[in-house]
Amino acid sequence: MLKYIIPLVLFIIMAVFLGVGLTLNPSEIPSPFINKPAPNFSAPKLNAPQELLTPADLKGQVWLFNVWASWCVSCRSEHPVLNDLAKLNAVTIIGLNYKDDPADAKKWLGSLGNPYNISIMDQDGRIGIDYGVYGVPETFVIDKKGVIRYKQTGPVTVVDLQKTLIPLLDQLQAEPQ
């Protein structure tokens, strides 16, 4: 009897491990940033390169930090969703134009619409490294105290917006400064 039970138990254990393995997404890397202060930067604005933006300028408001580039294919699918979000006026949207040519970036916003309150430039990718960016687009949600509360890698979809982002933004907007 034991002769049959042992292989069966081994098989079930292996099946469970492999089954769990199938449901995991290996490209999703847990972010070490959740509940940590947003890393500092001081970057020129895309539309006014002589002006600099720092996270301190945004203290007291909830903001969405969206990493995008004109060369990024999935940013194109995400863009209409961000345009919709911008229309709701639920949050300040800051764009990080990552490793991009400013002329291309402006052309892109001109033709597809500009959901960003401000876009800043990160031409050599240093701000990207400080935010642990590895796959564009990425989206961070930062609260009124300047703490990162949520991060999404990959394009934001309408479902993400409805199920995750908007409820979270409502909750963060209700928090005291």
């Binding site: 290996p26 070490p32 490793k99 990718g125 990207g128 490294i129 400080d130 642990g132 590895y134």
Partner: protein, 157 residues
């Protein structure tokens, strides 16, 4: 032969595909080379940043070389990278609670395997002994039967 040579040439090219950085201090150069081989490129996940051609890998190589030139230690740089990308960026994961299974499991499986082999050998030996004992007993009874029949019949063959 020509075709083989062609394949070799194609393969050898890939070794030099990545930009090469030379640091002035040989010690820093050594740290640079070990560090870039220990850090994972997060875009092409099964390559180190020393191997990868991805833009992010090249940015991270630049970051490593700059930090070394600033006199940062290897530990500082590894800390800098894990602060940003998590433990995942390390090809050799740190030994701690979360990664304990990763480190212990191979040794545990080896021990389990050795124990299983020992058990199998033992049970086989026990079985063999049993059968040989039984064989000896059988021979003994055969002899006794023979003796008895000899005694009874008084015949010597």
């Amino acid at each position: 032969m020509k075709r083989l040579l062609f394949i070799f040439i194609l393969l050898s090219g890939s070794c030099y595909a990545v930009d090469y950085r030379q640091l002035s201090d040989p010690k820093q150069q050594e740290s640079y080379e070990t560090l870039t081989k220990e850090l994972r490129c997060l875009v092409c996940q099964n390559q180190t940043i020393a191997d990868s051609n991805a833009e992010l890998a090249s940015d991270l190589r630049r970051q490593v070389s700059e930090m070394l030139e600033q006199g940062k230690s290897k530990e500082d740089i590894i800390q800098f990278m894990t602060d940003r990308y998590g433990d995942f960026v390390l090809y050799k994961p740190a030994f701690k609670g979360k990664t304990l299974l990763l480190w212990i499991a191979p040794i545990a499986f080896l021990v389990i395997g050795l124990m299983a082999v020992l058990l199998v050998i033992r049970s086989k030996k026990a079985k063999e002994k049993l059968t040989s004992d039984a064989g000896a007993l059988q021979r003994d009874t055969d002899k006794q039967k023979k003796i008895r029949s000899l005694l009874n019949n008084g015949e010597i063959s």
